[in-house]
Amino acid sequence: MDLQIAPFTLILSFSLVLIGMFISYRENLGTWKEIIYSITRAVIQLAIIGYLLTYLFEANNAIITSSMVLVIAFNASWNAHKRSNNISNSLKISMISIFTSVLLSLGILLISGSVKFIPSQVVPITGMICGNAMTTIGLCYRNLNNLFRDQRQQILEKLSLGASPKQAATSILREAIKLGMQPALDSAKTLGIVTLPGMMSGLMFAGTMPLTAIMYQIMVTFMLVATTSISSYIASFLAYKEFFNKNQQLTA
């Protein structure tokens, strides 16, 4: 394994950020402050997680690893909830969706033996599952909000004909689930052609043979397609109910 990156070389690579700041300054984009803030935040967060993961990997304790899985899943749920734009019970809905996605996807990978229950495998895989589920659920919330606003009259008409909230919202639900899954499906289509995804690149960086690396990437792709399907389905099916009150009327 030939992985050598010294703090000094990292400082040199900071010049890449300077290019971004220069463009921002030159074009008067006003984003240089945000660039500094984002980069500083990323460095601090990564440093902390670096130390934390070192501890986790060395400890190799099932309880600590499981706790880390729960923390990641909760953080992802909290962030998805913040993207809900005031959909009621969105924290609960996000938690149910993300915890189910983790349980099913990680569970199948563990049972099939593709992944071992050791922190160096479980933690990154959980991170990928939760990150994807979080983005998908955020998208579903945004789409539900937009569709319920744009198609309000249509929903009212369906309700007035005697449709139940679920019958009235079926077309919106289908659309929201489809749109929520779309980015994951689009990126799966271009894998290897346009993008060499993070996990595969990381393994090759670390010296793994490309054919072994792609096997892992294929597994990750299966996992992410499942995750986006599960999370968008559960989140949309739970969240649409929040657009109706107990009298089966559209809320304002």
Binding site: K158, S160, L161, G162, A163, S164, Q248, Q249
Partner: protein, 220 residues
């Protein structure tokens, strides 16, 4: 003959956005009646109709349907019996058929094509309109299809909210003639809000709402 009180409204009020939109409305409607509701814009006519349709909820008073408080009904079952037609209806899906099959879908029943064609023809629309794209229809045609959607399964009460206000005289006549014909052959109750004086006269009872209050009841 036994007279059935299909709707009873007691001290009904609706308060929203710091305004009393409807205040102490008392009204009894018998099965089979055709009632016109008149009044100036913003007087609360449409709000009353929407409350009866259970699209919005009253904030005070009582509303009974067939002798039972509205709260005791499952909302979607209630709306199958008390059906509301909008002033400017939106058709959904892609074709006319998507709209006319919807009442069957929500009842888990198979689409009855012949009945839809019969109704289309009765409102002067040819049978092949069933497959017509909704974005090629005129306003009058859309309104006719929307009303058919409401009466394919004949409700006990049909609520019509200014359904002909944006239509020309020809379309208005087609819709009213058809509805009056259905009404004549059934015991369906109709409550209609209208600005048009000729339309209002179709009812056998006219009630007027002014500033959220029931002003007068006039029996024709």
């Amino acid at each position: 003959m036994i007279i059935i009180e299909i709707l009873k409204i007691e001290n009904l009020g609706f308060f929203a956005q710091n305004k009393q939109i409807l205040d102490s409305i008392n009204l009894k409607i018998q099965e089979g009646e055709f009632v016109s509701i008149v009044g100036p814009s913003g007087s609360g006519k449409s709000t009353l109709l929407k409350i009866i349709a259970n699209i919005i909820s009253k904030t005070s008073g009582n509303l009974y349907f067939n002798g039972k408080p509205i709260e005791e009904y499952n909302s979607s079952d209630y709306r199958k019996e008390v059906s509301y037609c909008f002033q400017a209806p939106v058709l959904f899906g892609k074709t006319v058929k998507d709209n006319l099959s919807f009442p069957y879908e929500i009842r888990n029943m198979e689409f009855h094509k012949e009945k839809s064609i019969k109704y289309l023809e009765e409102v002067n629309l040819p049978a092949d309109y069933l497959d017509k794209k909704i974005n090629t229809l005129s306003g009058g045609e859309k309104q006719r299809i929307a009303v058919i959607r409401n009466v394919l399964f004949q409700p006990k009460v049909l609520l019509l909210d200014e359904i002909t206000s944006a239509l020309d005289a020809e379309n208005r006549d087609i819709i009213w003639n058809w509805l009056c014909n259905i009404k004549a052959n059934s015991n369906m109750t109709i409550l209609m809000v209208s600005h048009n004086e000729d339309d209002s006269k179709l009812g056998d009872k006219i009630i007027s709402i002014q500033d959220g209050k029931l002003e007068l009841q006039e029996v024709e």
